[in-house]
C-alpha cells in the first residue's frame, strides 16, 4: 500500500502493467519526454523506452487506428487522448472499428485496446476541455466504459482494463486528479469491471453517481444525516456494462432514486439508469426519479460553477425526492 493521488494511481497502474507484460505499450500526444500534459505517463519513457511509450503526431484517428492495428496483431496498446473533448477526430475508429471488430469478424479479431482520457469540468477549461460525453460510448455496443473516482479504483480498474479482452474507454475525472489522495495497492491487484461500489449504505434514497461527482454526492449524503435522512450512495464505476443488479437492488431497498452526472441531462447516461429503474424496479418506486446533471448547453467557461452539479443541488434534489408524496 502506498499513498497516491488519482493521477499518480493511473501512473502506477501503467507502470505495473508494463513491467508485468512486455506487450503492453502506450501511445499518444506528449506522453513521452513531456510525461503527458497531466503527467500521467511521467517517468515511463525513461523506464520502458521509446518503443513502448510512443509520442505520436497530432492525430487522434492516427492514435486510435494505430492502437487497433497493434491490437489486431496481438499487442495490448493503451492509447491516451489528451482530453476527451479531442477524441472526435478518432470517433470513427472507435465506433466503426474498435467496437465492432470482434463482432464483425465472428470472433476472429478481438481488439484489446484501452483508451485512457481525462474528462469533465471544474478546471476552467471551457467548452473544449471540460466535456463529459460518456453516453456516446456507453451507447456503443462492443465498448466497455469505466470511470474511477478514487486512487484505489483508478489503479485496480485500469489494470483490469489493460488485461481485459475487450476494448475499454477509461475516463479519468481530471478535476479530482490531484484533489483526492488515498491508499493504492501494490502489484497486479485488479478491481473487477462491471461492479458498482456502495460508497455508503442507506435506507431512504439511493444516489447514483460516478467520477468527479462522488465527492459532492458524498458531501450531500453526509449533510442529510443530520436531518435524519439515510442516503445510500452508489458509485457506478463501470458505466457499460452497468451493474444493474446492484442498481435495482439498491432502489428495491430505498424506493427512491437520484441520479447525478455532470454531462448534459438530455439523453445523458442518467437516462439509462432511470429507464432501467422505471422498468425493473417500478413497483418499489415511491417517488419520481430525479436527475441532477449539467444543463442542456455546451460547457461554459466563466460560469462553470453554475453549470456543474454541486453538493447543495444534489442535497436539495435528494430532499425533494424523500419528501415527495
Amino acid at each position: 500500500m502506498t499513498e497516491a493521488t488519482l493521477v499518480q494511481a493511473v501512473n502506477r497502474a501503467l507502470h505495473t502493467a508494463m513491467a508485468a507484460d512486455p506487450e503492453v505499450l502506450l501511445l499518444g500526444e506528449d506522453i513521452g519526454v513531456n510525461g503527458g500534459v497531466f503527467r500521467a505517463t511521467e517517468g515511463l519513457l525513461k523506464e520502458f523506452g521509446a518503443d513502448r511509450v510512443i509520442d505520436t503526431p497530432l492525430s487522434e484517428t492516427g492514435i486510435i487506428g494505430t492502437a487497433v492495428g497493434m491490437a489486431l496483431y496481438g499487442l495490448k496498446p493503451v492509447a491516451e487522448i489528451q482530453f476527451l473533448d479531442f477524441i472526435y477526430p478518432g470517433f470513427d475508429q472507435i465506433v466503426s472499428e474498435l467496437a465492432k471488430f470482434r463482432y464483425r469478424s465472428g470472433g476472429q479479431y478481438p481488439c484489446h485496446v484501452v483508451i485512457r482520457t481525462p474528462y469533465g469540468g471544474g478546471i476552467k477549461g471551457g467548452l473544449y476541455h471540460s466535456q463529459s460525453t460518456e453516453a456516446y460510448f456507453a451507447h456503443t455496443a462492443g465498448l466497455k466504459v469505466v470511470v474511477p473516482s478514487t486512487p484505489a479504483d483508478a489503479y485496480g480498474l485500469l489494470l483490469s482494463a489493460i488485461f481485459d479482452p475487450d476494448p475499454v474507454i477509461f475516463l479519468e475525472p481530471k478535476r479530482i486528479y490531484r484533489s483526492v489522495s488515498g491508499e493504492i495497492p501494490e502489484g497486479d491487484h485488479r478491481e473487477p469491471i462491471g461492479k458498482a461500489r456502495i460508497v455508503r449504505e442507506g435506507t431512504d434514497v439511493s444516489v447514483f453517481a460516478y467520477g468527479a461527482m462522488i465527492p459532492p454526492a458524498t458531501e450531500a449524503c453526509q449533510s442529510l444525516e443530520g436531518e435524519g435522512i439515510s442516503a445510500e450512495l452508489v458509485d457506478l464505476r463501470t458505466l457499460s456494462p452497468v451493474d444493474s443488479p446492484a442498481v435495482i437492488a439498491s432502489v428495491e431497498k430505498t424506493g427512491r432514486a437520484v441520479i447525478v452526472h455532470e454531462a448534459a441531462r438530455f439523453c445523458g447516461y442518467g437516462a439509462e439508469i432511470a429507464a432501467i429503474l422505471a422498468d425493473k424496479a417500478f413497483y418499489s418506486l415511491k417517488a419520481p426519479i430525479a436527475r441532477v446533471t449539467g444543463f442542456d448547453t455546451p460547457f461554459p467557461y466563466a460560469l462553470e460553477n453554475l453549470y456543474l452539479p454541486n453538493a447543495a443541488r444534489i442535497r436539495q434534489s435528494v430532499l425533494d425526492t424523500v419528501r415527495a408524496a
Partner: protein, 329 residues
C-alpha cells in the same frame, strides 16, 4: 485471374436472381490484385477493402468460403454478421474489412509497428481505392508510416471512379502516388493491368520494407469494368466510349494475348480453362447453397469476449420470441 472473373460474373447473376443480397465485383482489377498477392509472403498481413476477390484467391481462400460468407449461412466464418464481400480469415492473415472507407489504412500501420516490436519480418498492406485517398485515415496512415518508418506497402487501386466521382474530381493532384511526398513516403505509379509490373513493384517495395527502409505508396492504375456494386448503374455517370476504351486494356485479355504471342498458351487451353473455372464455381455454389442458416441467437455473441448479463437476458427474450413464432429470420 480467370477464376476471379468467372466467379464475379456468376455472383452478379446470383444477385440479380435474388439469391445473394449484394455484390461488389472486382472485374478489371484482377491483375493488380493477383500480381500484388503473388509478390507477398503468406505471413504478410493484408488489410482489404471490399473489392479484393483476386487477392483473396492468392491466399487460398476457397469459393466455398466466399459463398458461405455471401449467404451469411451456418458455415460463414463471420457468422452472418457482414454484407457480402466483407470477408476475412485470420488464419490467412487476411483481416476482416469494413465498409467505412479508409479505416484499414492506419490500422495496417499499427499492425506493422506491432510486427516490428515482435521481431516478425513481415510487411502489412492496406488495399484501398482512389476515393479512399481523401479519407482521414489515408492521411493519418501515410503520415504515421513516414514518421515511424514502418514496413507497410500502401496499395492503392486507382480504378478511376469512386462510385460516380471521377478520379479527376477526387483530388487535384496529378497522380495519387505523388501524395506520398506529403509524408516522406516514396510513391510509384504502376500499370495495374500488367500483372508483371505490379508483381515487380510490390516485390521491390517489400524488400525495402523488410530491410528497414520504410513504407511505399503504390498506385496501380486500373479501371473498374463493372458497376460499383449491384446497387449501382454506371451508365448514369460514365460514357460507353470510356468503358470501351478500357475494355481494350482488360488485364485478362492482355495476359492471354501475351501468352498466346509467346506461344505459351493456346485458344483451346484458354477455352478449357474457362470451362474448368466455371465448373468450379458451379460446384462451389451447389455445395454451399444448401448449407443451413446461421443460428438465430448467434447474433448476440462476440459483442464482448463473453456475453454480459444484459445480453444473456436479451438472448432469453429472443428465445421466447422465437418459440412463440413472434420473430422470423
Amino acid at each position: 485471374m480467370l477464376l476471379a472473373r468467372a466467379f464475379d460474373e456468376r455472383c452478379l447473376t446470383l444477385q440479380r436472381q435474388g439469391r445473394i443480397g449484394f455484390y461488389v465485383p472486382a472485374m478489371g482489377q484482377e491483375a493488380a490484385q493477383i500480381g500484388c498477392g503473388w509478390a507477398l509472403d503468406p505471413a504478410d498481413w493484408l488489410f482489404p477493402a471490399y473489392r479484393e476477390l483476386g487477392l483473396a484467391l492468392t491466399r487460398g481462400v476457397t469459393l466455398d468460403e466466399l459463398l458461405c460468407q455471401f449467404f451469411g449461412n451456418a458455415q460463414d466464418r463471420l457468422k452472418g454478421r457482414q454484407m457480402p464481400n466483407h470477408y476475412g480469415y485470420r488464419d490467412r492473415n487476411f483481416v476482416v474489412g469494413s465498409s467505412p472507407i479508409g479505416t484499414q489504412i492506419i490500422q495496417a500501420v499499427g499492425a506493422a509497428m506491432a510486427a516490428r516490436r515482435r521481431g516478425d519480418a513481415i510487411v502489412t498492406i492496406p488495399f484501398f481505392g482512389d476515393g479512399a485517398t481523401s479519407s482521414n485515415d489515408f492521411h493519418a496512415g501515410l503520415n504515421f508510416a513516414g514518421v515511424f518508418r514502418v514496413p507497410t506497402i500502401f496499395f492503392c487501386q486507382n480504378n478511376e471512379w469512386a462510385i460516380s466521382l471521377p478520379r479527376s474530381r477526387q483530388t487535384a493532384a496529378k497522380t495519387l502516388a505523388e501524395k506520398g511526398g506529403a509524408y516522406g513516403v516514396p510513391g510509384e505509379v504502376v500499370d495495374g493491368n500488367d500483372v508483371h509490373q505490379v508483381f515487380r513493384a510490390v516485390r521491390t517495395a517489400r524488400a525495402r520494407a523488410i530491410a528497414g527502409d520504410g513504407p511505399t505508396l503504390i498506385e496501380a492504375q486500373v479501371y473498374r469494368l463493372g458497376p460499383h456494386s449491384t446497387s449501382d448503374d454506371p451508365r448514369r455517370y460514365r460514357s460507353d466510349a470510356e468503358l470501351a476504351e478500357w475494355k481494350q486494356k482488360d488485364p485478362i485479355g492482355r495476359l492471354k494475348h501475351e501468352l498466346l504471342d509467346a506461344g505459351a498458351w493456346t485458344e483451346e487451353q484458354d477455352a478449357a480453362l474457362l470451362e474448368e473455372v466455371r465448373g468450379e464455381v458451379a460446384q462451389a455454389l451447389a455445395r454451399t447453397e444448401t448449407v443451413g442458416p446461421a443460428d438465430p441467437t448467434s447474433f448476440l455473441d462476440d459483442v464482448y469476449a463473453t456475453r454480459t448479463p444484459a445480453l444473456d437476458e436479451q438472448r432469453h427474450y429472443l428465445e421466447e420470441m422465437l418459440k412463440a413464432g413472434m420473430v422470423r429470420q
